[in-house]
Symmetry: D3
Subunit: 69 residues, 6 copies
């Protein structure tokens, strides 16, 4: 499957914290650079996400804001 979302950052799962409905996934995309994702618990289980797994953090460009110091 190829998706329209423009942002796809390669990384490795560092942490998986399951809740009742949602699961928080911490993905390391570069040494010391992490991206946090919240997806449904069933999605996380469906993808068998576990520490060390190679994944992509995917974001639609309309969900990306820009900030300056």
């Amino acid at each position: 499957m190829q998706i329209s979302a423009r942002n796809s950052l390669k990384g490795t799962v560092k942490q998986v914290v399951p809740g009742a409905i949602n699961t928080e996934i911490v993905i390391e995309i570069a040494p010391g650079v992490e991206v946090v994702s919240v997806i449904t618990k069933s999605s996380a289980e469906g993808l068998a996400l576990d520490i060390g797994k190679a994944v992509y953090a995917v974001v639609k460009s309309s969900d990306v804001m820009v900030a300056i110091d």
Copy 2:
């Protein structure tokens, strides 16, 4: 200002494409790794976004999906 959005990726503006309402911003967050953002034209102008400017790509964690190969 400190914001709740968990993801804040440091980078440099590589491209600014203004439309009528929205502007597309390409941010390089690592050599060869780009993040694309679509924000309103007035936001882009308000932040004076231009090529070479140091910025952060900011994403709320509930907007981050996870994909596997």
Copy 3:
């Protein structure tokens, strides 16, 4: 690629309206049932979206609201 987004509705492209930055895509997912998507123009071009093409409308479940009459 397998993605965490829980909703993936099979359909056919019925209309493609390109703007400067964004493109509007109308997808028919059942006779008379349409889903409208707004993605970046470059994404639409990258996927070669055109009338008649078989596609999926993909939505993260945290972006789905529920309404009642």
Copy 4:
């Protein structure tokens, strides 16, 4: 109330899974075609969502991505 969100898919609630903050709602929009929504628990309670109830899955078009095989 009439809302700007372009996508409104008629369906029936098939499952309601409450968590501490969020509730997951599974909506059948056609035989065998389901849409999953995550909304706050209080919203789900406020709408008295229960199995069999007629509802709409509502999505803003900027939250719809497009994928191809």
Copy 5:
């Protein structure tokens, strides 16, 4: 129609800026307090949004971030 989105701020349309695909709507929700919305041009036309019209700015709670000074 009653929707799950928790936030519905009453206001008045102050400005309508149409683009090719999207339209920017500025809504005054209190004297001097404005909310900006970007929706599709056809939605704006479908709701006949015009300066002075009474409207609600509607936001799903998972799209609201929190910031501190």
Copy 6:
């Protein structure tokens, strides 16, 4: 930090409801007018959000819908 999100509504925290992964924050932005936000529990803790604290409810304009009666 200055962010591209166009909407920043000043208010006071009225309620904090923590879950396993997400925390619901109720912000009063005017007498009797509340905005509800769902952010990760760690974000809420990182910002030390508590009843009475002065905060901003921040929303990207592409996440704001418009409704009419």
